[in-house]
Subunit: 83 residues, 2 copies
Amino acid sequence: MVLEIMGYVAGALTTVSFLPQVLKAWKSKSTKDVSLSMFVLFTLGVFLWLVYGISLGDMPIIIANLITLVLALSILVMKLKYG
Amino acid sequence: MVLEIMGYVAGALTTVSFLPQVLKAWKSKSTKDVSLSMFVLFTLGVFLWLVYGISLGDMPIIIANLITLVLALSILVMKLKYG
């Protein structure tokens, strides 16, 4: 139970962390210092974590990576748009 | 076995993804577009994932988050230095 809660808190932090980057890029329309390679590799990796979590039936991994995937994809799209 | 390999590939991608961002920030000495809040929250979250992985005895989660922690901390330090 404590372990499950820790998984959810860890997932909440690594997931929510991408929101300020989404908002910053959205407001400034500037992503010059953001690495394109980072978000291409990261988005791919998060997708695989999601599949891994589904295979394990591990809900903290599934929920965290599903939301992170949406946020990382948003940053990737803005990077491609704003350069 | 296939599942374990998928976990390692997922971990390798989400971990290695931070390396281009470390190198970009290191070379350009510019992190204006990188969100400070993102890397504060993300570094905290990765630390908790590491503890979660250790508690589960899940090697892909442990190894991936240990390396990610070092890379995310490097970006955080450069963000604090370069602004």
